[in-house]
């Protein structure tokens, strides 16, 4: 897990780099600003459901692979 929000852990940076995409390219595909992608990766911002689904679609993965609730890590 990368840098994460206290309420939501994320793997976005790893998945984005694995897909060989820049933040700018991912933001254009997900129809948001580059700043939003940067804020999500750094755990500053928790995305909406629609945005999370758009990002997952772009990265060809499930939302659950990108984002996890903190308690799931302790199970």
């Amino acid at each position: 897990m990368g840098k994460s929000h206290e309420k939501l852990l994320n793997n976005l940076e790893e998945f984005r780099k694995a897909a060989n995409l820049t933040q700018q390219e991912l933001s254009e595909s997900a129809e948001v600003s580059r700043k939003s992608i940067n804020a999500i990766e750094n755990g500053i911002y928790v995305p909406s459901t629609v945005l999370a689904l758009k990002i997952a679609r772009t990265l060809s993965c499930n939302v659950e692979e990108l984002f996890k609730l903190p308690e799931e890590n302790n199970i």
């Binding site: 254009e28 600003s33 700043k35 939003s36 804020a39 995305p47 909406s48």
Partner: protein
């Protein structure tokens, strides 16, 4: 529309607003500035700028920009930034109004003092939201440099 253009519009509106609001507040509190605005109609400038600035942003959203630009400029994270700053503005205004009320001379209250207080409150709100507008615009400037 780009982040840099929006920065220019918002920064201009905000900084002009801060200048006039600060001037008005200092005048109302009786500080000797040593100079005065000679043409009082110039006090309309911040309002006119905000009117045309917001008009330009609206027109550019609906008629001048493509979807890709609008998606980036008006996404949910930007909305959250705007919401947080507006909330901060209301909080600061609440504290400011409380302080302005506390600073009044209630023992010799008059319509003139009441009128003055209303101007003080208006100028303070104007200053607060002008400063927050500048703050918001700085975010756009940073994005224009790193985006």
């Amino acid at each position: 529309m780009t982040f840099f253009k929006r920065f220019l519009v918002l920064f201009t509106c905000g900084s002009v607003q801060v200048f006039f609001a600060t001037y008005l507040l200092l005048e109302l509190f009786g500080f000797g500035l040593g100079w005065h605005l000679a043409v009082h109609n110039i006090m309309f400038v911040p309002g006119v700028l905000v009117f045309f600035g917001s008009g330009y942003l609206t027109i550019s959203y609906y008629f001048l920009s493509d979807d890709a630009s609008n998606n980036a400029l008006y996404d949910e994270f930007t909305a959250l930034r705007y919401y947080k700053l507006a909330t901060a503005g209301y909080v600061i205004n609440g504290i400011g109004i409380f302080m302005l009320y506390s600073a009044q001379d209630w023992s010799s209250w008059s319509f003139e003092l009441a009128n003055n207080m209303i101007y003080q409150i208006a100028a303070f709100a104007w200053l607060t939201f002008g400063a927050l507008l500048v703050w918001f615009s700085v975010g756009d400037y940073r994005e224009s440099k790193s985006g």
